[in-house]
């Protein structure tokens, strides 16, 4: 039985401009207005020049889904995205603790968990990044949703920042982190 192709958002941190138009596109799509802290993708700027778009990596084993005590999280078979049942969510943040990158967070409005839903297969963040030919976000198509490499992208912003800053600044990065 052949597996379907699913999408996945690759992040090329060295190309992130820090324009945060991904947050604008995301919040316009999901909230109907510009709301950076409700955006499913959040760019961390802990070190100047090392801008880190932080969003769900759709780990092959979905530790967040497994951790949820009330079964509020599920996986969309078509896209591989984690979906949230806001009615069920009790805002316990167990999914954030279970995520290797602590990526989920609480929506500043309704206080329920926020995780990227891949815009049902057509991610707006990737679109605006590509429209401006910044290409920090790329849409990859993969066979199935079980690629174990994806989980390696679920990292804490501090760790990603350290790597990217070292890549850009070399030894100097130690002084900046």
């Amino acid at each position: 039985m052949s597996e379907r192709r699913t999408i996945w958002i690759f992040r090329d941190y060295l190309k992130c401009t820090g324009c945060r138009r991904c947050e604008i596109a995301c919040s316009l799509q999901h909230e109907g207005k510009i709301w950076p802290e409700a955006s499913r993708i959040r760019v961390f700027m802990l070190v100047p020049g090392a801008e880190i778009p932080h969003l769900c990596a759709q780990c092959h084993d979905y530790p967040c889904v497994a951790s949820c005590p009330v079964n509020a999280l599920s996986v969309n078979d078509d896209t591989g995205a984690v979906l949230i049942d806001k009615e069920k969510c009790i805002s316990c943040l167990k999914c954030m603790d279970a995520c290797p990158g602590n990526i989920p967070f609480l929506h500043p409005g309704d206080n329920k968990i926020v995780i990227c839903d891949l815009c049902n297969g057509d991610p707006q963040c990737v679109k605006v990044c590509q429209d401006a030919r910044f290409d920090a976000l790329l849409l990859l198509r993969q066979r199935g949703i079980k690629d174990i490499t994806k989980k390696l992208f679920a990292q804490k912003p501090e760790d990603l920042t350290e790597d990217v800053a070292t890549n850009i600044y070399g030894e100097k990065a130690e002084e900046l982190i």
């Binding site: 060295l14 190309k15 401009t17 820090g18 324009c19 945060r20 138009r21 604008i24 919040s27 316009l28 909230e31 109907g32 207005k33 510009i34 709301w35 950076p36 802290e37 409700a38 959040r42 961390f44 700027m45 802990l46 070190v47 100047p48 020049g49 932080h54 943040l93 954030m96 602590n102 989920p104 967070f105 609480l106 500043p108 409005g109 926020v114 605006v128 429209d131 401006a132 030919r133 910044f134 804490k156 912003p157 850009i168 600044y169 070399g170 030894e171 100097k172 002084e175 900046l176 982190i177």
Partner: protein
């Protein structure tokens, strides 16, 4: 409540440590909008009657950091910094970009108004609908990278402790002053991120004079609601499309950093050795030399900006290894390059980063440094005055000079007063008139665009501007030039300007303001108040329009080299244009706003105060 606004302003008195929210009536906001316009209104209402006696570096001055209704919702988010200027003694609106303005609005504030003076160094932390004054002893004296690092870390930790279970806290946005501001150097900038200076006006010194190191904001709310959400979404997409067009070399692909060669070589309007020349053809200083060797990010940007005029430059080898900054953009590239006799990209990047790290305005500061170098070239100041030789092109010497000025050490204390005030002092000290080498208009050092070749800026662009030497807000005809005042008041970046600006403004605010109303009425009102403050001036310098509504003497010397050799600014043309401009804007033959014009605009209070000048 009008749309596009968070709805309140934070009003902080550092002397009494009192913090309150201030709200402005809709009518005031519709007229003055925000940013520069509203700053002018606030300053006039609070200080207008005693303007002349207000010391810009005294506790009575008001420091303003204001956004506008379009800020962060329209591409190119900026904040407008203002107050009584320690450079012009008038009001300058100086903007810079970064994450601070969007964070401030998301925290529920449209701006911060600071009066008084803290007893010891502090910073103001603004979070969702609250603010506090916090100790800044540990960052006082620190340069940009350390300040950003320390405050980012501290604020994230504080917020995580207060609200640990909402997810990982992001970095806040901040504006801050560097060591230059702390030491009240009149050419100190208010900085944002690593390399964004709001330099014109010298408001870094105002922050320093208030013992205010930084204002830090982190908001979790949405940007303010708009009047027509559907229209704003469409307009955002349309403007964004224009800004990210793939066939534009500028500002996206080349940044402004390709100008360091071309402005000199093509239009002969780039400062070279304190404007003794405006032409050079140094291909070593070409855009690609910066680009191929130093730029590690071709597209670098701030909140809501697809134009991406910034480029991350990093020096990876040699004596300046570890230096990083933006571009440099054209202004710093020119002022810390050819204007200091430097034509080596690496050296220019190094000095440019240094000046930003020190919070020393990258246009105004090096203008003074080049002025000093010309005095050295002419033997008016010597090695004995400086403690070292100051030859054109000598990076080490210029670094020493910058640090001396920023610390106000020795002759640095005089140069820290800015080019014009330093020229007055040195003239007295040395018994020769050196004001003719000072390239400024009314105390504000001029941006890196000359008027002599006729290929770049208008002959009266600076001379009649209420922003003085500011290259971003020159005058033309009292109509077209109102657009820049609007951009500074709605507080969006002029590089993100578009044909959809006014539709966008109306879709956000729901107001019916037209461009024509702005250009004929609202913009003029702001200009007149700025003009009134500028003419009142004081306490140390009072400008005489007959003398000071003019270009610096250097702009009337013939260009000594290049394709426009012997060309210069025509004095007669300047006088004619000046007369026309006075008439168009509504100033009398002496340059004072006319009584009937002010009264027609409802500015009776301004008219009453100006009576003293008409005698």
């Amino acid at each position: 409540m009008p749309r596009g606004y968070a709805g309140k302003f934070l009003d902080v008195d550092l002397s009494s440590e009192k913090i309150k929210d201030t709200v402005f009536a809709d009518k005031i906001l519709r007229s003055f909008v925000g940013g520069r316009g509203l700053a002018v209104k606030i300053l006039w209402d609070r200080l207008g009657k005693k303007w002349r006696s207000v010391d810009p570096l005294g506790p009575e001055n008001v420091f303003l950091a204001l956004t506008g209704p379009m800020t962060a919702i329209y591409p190119g988010a900026r904040v407008c910094i203002s107050g009584k200027s320690p450079q012009s003694n008038g009001i300058i609106g100086s903007t810079n970009s970064g994450e601070f303005p969007s964070e401030l609005k998301c925290a529920g504030y449209d701006g911060v108004i600071v009066t008084g003076r803290a007893e010891k160094p502090v910073y103001i932390l603004v979070t969702d609908d609250r603010a506090e004054i916090r100790d800044a002893k540990h960052v006082w004296g620190r340069e940009a990278p350390e300040t950003i690092r320390a405050l980012t870390k501290e604020v994230r930790e504080t917020l995580a402790n207060r609200k640990p279970r909402v997810g990982i806290w992001r970095d806040p946005g901040l504006i801050y002053c560097g060591p230059a501001g702390e030491n009240r150097v009149r050419t100190a900038a208010v900085m944002q991120k690593i390399s964004h200076g709001a330099g014109y006006g010298g408001y870094g010194a105002v922050m320093g004079s208030k013992n205010l190191k930084a204002i830090v904001a982190k908001g979790r709310k949405s940007l303010p609601d708009v009047a027509s959400p559907g229209a704003v979404k469409l307009l955002w997409q349309e403007v964004d499309k224009r800004l990210t067009r793939k066939d534009r070399s500028w500002p996206g692909v080349w940044g402004t950093g390709y100008g360091g060669y071309s402005v000199g070589a093509r239009s002969s309007s780039e400062p070279v050795r304190n404007w003794q020349e405006e032409w050079h053809d140094e291909k070593s200083f070409g855009g690609p030399k910066f680009d191929f060797r130093y730029w590690v990010k071709r597209y670098w940007s701030d909140f809501n900006c697809g134009a991406a005029c910034m480029k991350l430059a990093v020096i990876k080898t040699g004596p300046y290894k570890g230096t990083f900054t933006d571009n440099p953009d054209y202004e710093l590239e020119a002022y810390l390059g050819p204007n200091l006799g430097i034509f080596d990209p690496g050296k220019c990047i190094y000095l440019s980063a240094l000046i930003d790290y020190l919070g020393y305005s990258g246009i105004n500061g090096p203008n003074t440094m080049a002025f000093a170098a010309e005095l050295y070239q002419r033997g008016i100041i010597t090695k004995e005055d400086l403690g070292f030789e100051l030859k054109w092109g000598d990076v080490e010497a210029f670094e020493k000079l910058a640090r001396k000025i920023v610390k106000r050490e020795g002759i640095g204390d005089i140069l820290a007063e800015g080019t014009y005030r330093a020229a007055l002092k040195i003239s007295k000290m040395k018994g020769v008139d050196v004001t003719k080498y000072a390239v400024h208009v009314k105390g504000v050092e001029i941006g890196a665009h000359g008027t002599r070749s006729g290929q770049d800026y208008e002959p009266i662009g600076y001379a009649c501007s209420v922003q003085c030497g500011d290259h971003t807000s020159g005058v033309y005809d009292a109509y077209r030039d109102m657009r820049m005042i609007f951009l500074d008041s709605a507080v969006v970046c002029s590089f993100c300007d578009s044909d959809l600006l006014w539709d966008y403004y109306r879709a956000i605010t729901g107001w019916d303001t037209t461009e024509d109303e702005w250009n004929r009425t609202l913009g003029h009102r702001i200009t007149h108040i700025q003009r009134a403050a500028l003419l009142l001036g004081g306490p140390d310098i009072i400008w005489d329009p007959a003398v000071h509504d003019d270009n610096p003497p250097r702009y009337y010397e013939p260009l000594p080299s290049g394709p426009y050799k012997d060309k210069t600014t025509d004095k007669k043309t300047v006088e004619e244009m000046k007369k026309e401009y006075y008439e168009a804007i509504g100033w009398d033959e002496r340059g004072i706003p006319k009584s009937e014009v002010l009264r027609k605009l409802g500015l009776e209070d301004v008219d009453n105060v100006l009576e003293q000048l008409r005698k």
